[in-house]
C-alpha cells in the first residue's frame, strides 16, 4: 500500500527498462523478429493507456509479460488462420522467414543463442511460453502458473516436456550437441 502511494511511474523510464524484455518475449513466442517489433510497440503503447491502473513496478512487469504473451498468441492465431485460408504451412513459412533474417549480435553468442528463436518456434505454444518465462524471465513454476493462469501441475509438465523436446531439437540442429560436447 505504501509503495502504491509513493510510486510515481515515469512512462519513458518504463519503456527504457522493459522494451528489451517485451521485444525478446514477443520474438521468442512468434519466431518472427519483424512481428515482434510491431507487437512490442503495441504493448508499450497500451502500457501508456493503462499505466494509471497499475500500482507498482512489479505489477507493471507482470502486466507486460501477460499482455505480450496474449498479443503474441493472437498474432500467431491470425497467422494460422491466414495460412489456412491460403493453403500454406505456417511453420514452413516461419522457418523460411527466419532463415532469411540476417543474424546480428553474433559476438559472444553461443550456437544455441544464435538459433534459440528458431528452435523455440518448433515447440508447441504452451511449452514455449513456459520455457520462455522460466529461462528468460527466471520465474518459478508457481509464478508461471499465475502468469499463464494455468494449473501448477500443467506448467511443470510443460517445462519438463518442453525442455526435453528442445534438447532433442537442438541436438538435431546444432553440431555442438550432435558431437555431445
Amino acid at each position: 500500500m505504501r509503495e502504491q502511494l509513493s510510486w510515481q511511474p515515469d512512462f519513458e523510464q518504463l519503456v527504457e527498462e522493459h522494451q528489451s524484455m517485451v521485444f525478446s518475449l514477443a520474438w521468442r513466442m512468434t519466431g518472427d523478429r519483424g512481428l515482434a517489433e510491431e507487437l512490442a510497440q503495441d504493448v508499450l503503447l497500451e502500457l501508456d493507456r493503462n499505466l494509471h491502473k497499475l500500482g507498482s513496478a512489479d505489477h507493471v512487469r507482470f502486466w507486460l509479460r501477460q499482455v505480450t504473451l496474449h498479443r503474441s498468441a493472437d498474432a500467431l492465431r491470425r497467422k494460422r488462420t491466414k495460412a489456412a485460408s491460403l493453403g500454406t504451412d505456417v511453420w514452413v513459412e516461419l522457418e523460411e522467414r527466419h532463415v532469411l533474417v540476417e543474424p546480428f549480435e553474433m559476438e559472444d553468442e553461443s550456437p544455441l543463442g544464435v538459433r534459440i528463436e528458431e528452435l523455440l518456434a518448433t515447440l508447441p505454444e504452451s511449452q514455449r511460453a513456459a520455457l520462455v518465462l522460466r529461462y528468460q524471465e527466471d520465474l518459478t513454476p508457481e509464478e508461471i502458473a499465475v502468469t499463464l493462469k494455468t494449473p501448477l501441475a500443467t506448467v511443470k509438465s510443460h517445462l519438463q516436456r518442453g525442455l526435453k523436446l528442445l534438447r532433442v531439437k537442438a541436438s538435431q540442429t546444432l553440431k555442438e550437441y550432435v558431437r555431445g560436447t
Binding site: 543463442g113 528442445l166 534438447r167
Partner: protein, 120 residues
Amino acid sequence: MERKDMARKELSEQELAEFEQKLKFAMQHRAAPLGLKQRVLARARERRQTGHGRLWIMQRLAASIVLAAMFGGFAVYRQAEERAAEQKRGEQAREQVLTAMRITSRTLNRVNERLAETGR
C-alpha cells in the same frame, strides 16, 4: 544391465542440467530494435495531444451550446415580455374607446333631453 540404464538415465539428467544452464545464457534479453523507444514515445505523445485536442473541442462545443441556450432563452423571454406589453396596450386602447363611447352616449342623452325640453 540395470547399471547401464541407471548410468544412461543419470547422463540424460546431467545433459538436461547442462542444457538448462546453456538455455539460461541463450535466453538473455535481446536488445530492442534501434528507435523503438523513440517511436513509442512519439506515438504516445501524439495520442495524448489528439486526446487533448478532442477534449478541447468538446469543451468549446459544450460552452457554445450553453451560451446558445442562454441567449435563446433570453430571446424567448423578451418576446414573451413584448407580447404581454402589447396585449396590455391593446387593452388600454379598448378601455379608452369604451370610455369615449360612454362619454358620447351620455352627451347624446343629455342633448336629447334638452331638445325634448325645448320642444315642449
